[in-house]
């Protein structure tokens, strides 16, 4: 009996690292659409496919609408390609780690990476079917900035509300909805964002479809060769 238990224990020790390693997601591919309604009654629609590998940290947008073009966000540069030819190259800070793709793949979407920011959690309460947590800026910053309220539903990030310093005004509301479980990874199928400016409201709805995690069929696109573009 003792020998059997010992065998199971040893087997678990051997197998466990592989199981854990199996949960280390590294790639995401998805068809996306971004619909925007602005306070000035203008609209925008952008559609295409996005590719991201957290190890490479390049975000590749194959845009099909409004124009066919490719955007590659790599390191501190945004490359814009039309018909495979470099159209423009712009400097930009490396934002890859702050995107929904990186946060989701690294398991940091739950608090939207806020625990690593200047905000600290000050209150948690349960309300209806949500757990609400209030985050406050620390130190001298709290004299200038307002709190952030985050809500979770079914142990998933549901909403983020940014308040003004006086907490009288809502600056923005963001919702993560229609989660899809892909191979054990919960990825939001819809992100809604309301931004308030004056009396106006800008609404942005991002949807992700055909989400593929850890795709190995298109290795080249995840690690886009930039040598010819530099």
């Amino acid at each position: 009996m003792k020998r059997a238990i010992l065998s199971i224990f040893i087997s678990l020790i051997i197998v466990f690292p592989f199981v854990v390693q199996g949960q280390q997601f590294y790639r995401v591919k998805a068809d996306f659409s971004i619909k925007e309604k602005n306070a000035d009654s203008t609209s925008a629609l952008t559609m295409g496919t996005v590719y991201y590998d957290k190890n490479v940290k390049q975000i590749i947008y194959e845009i099909t609408f409004p124009r066919k073009e490719t955007w590659i966000l790599s390191d501190t540069t945004i490359y814009r390609l039309v018909e495979g030819k470099l159209e423009s190259k712009t400097f930009a800070p490396n934002m890859a780690e702050f995107t929904i793709f990186h946060l989701t793949l690294t398991g940091n979407l739950y608090n939207y990476g806020l625990e690593k920011s200047v905000y600290k959690i000050i209150k948690v309460e349960k309300e209806e079917d949500m757990v609400l947590s209030t985050w406050a800026p620390q130190g001298q910053l709290k004299e200038h900035f307002g709190n952030v309220i985050m809500s979770h539903k079914e142990k998933k990030l549901f909403g983020i509300v940014m308040l003004s310093k006086e907490e009288e005004k809502v600056l923005s509301r963001q919702f993560f909805r229609k989660y899809q479980n892909i191979n054990g990874l919960e990825f939001p199928g819809e992100i809604l964002q309301f931004t308030y400016k004056g009396d106006g409201e800008n609404i942005k709805m991002t949807t992700f479809k055909n989400i593929i995690i850890d795709d190995v069929s298109e290795n080249e696109i995840y690690n886009y060769s930039l040598s010819d573009l530099r």
Binding site: E69, Y112, M130
Partner: protein, 143 residues
């Protein structure tokens, strides 16, 4: 009686706050569907006609664009594709990261207003550094 009144007021006040907080996370889906109706129709049309571009639709005077004031300004796409970094206000980006923070804010928001806020943050950050350095140097003189 006063205690009872205070208790009732406290309960009412806390309920008001709670109701306010949960209200912040309510979305009127019916209104949303109505607002995005035309864009959703366009989205479906584009999905079904995978190769179509906005320029082609405009050239053909496609009626699907009738109810949509499309903003197709060149280069606007990238601002749509990125989420605001950590939801942190522009002024904090300027305060913490200085000029780099300002660049981040401008790239993400493409808004002059937000850029101005980050500039204020940058200036505040600069002042804070100067105060810190002066304090440190005076401290070292004292020692």
């Amino acid at each position: 009686m006063k205690v009872l009144l205070a208790f009732v007021l406290c309960v009412l006040f806390s309920l008001t706050i709670q109701a306010g907080q949960s209200d912040l996370f309510k979305v009127d889906d019916k209104a949303l569907i109505a607002q995005f109706g035309s864009l959703t129709e366009l989205e479906h049309f584009v999905s079904e006609n995978n190769e179509v571009t906005l320029a082609e639709l405009q050239a053909n005077n496609n009626t699907i664009l009738n109810d949509i004031a499309i903003n197709s300004s060149d280069g606007s796409t990238i601002s749509l594709l990125q989420e605001p970094p950590l939801g942190i206000p522009s002024i904090i980006w300027g305060f913490c990261l200085g000029a780099v923070g300002m660049v981040i804010v401008y790239i993400v928001t493409e808004s002059q207003d937000e850029l101005l806020k980050s500039l204020w943050g940058c200036l505040l950050g600069g002042v804070a550094w100067v105060i810190l350095l002066v304090s440190l140097s005076s401290l070292s003189v004292c020692i």
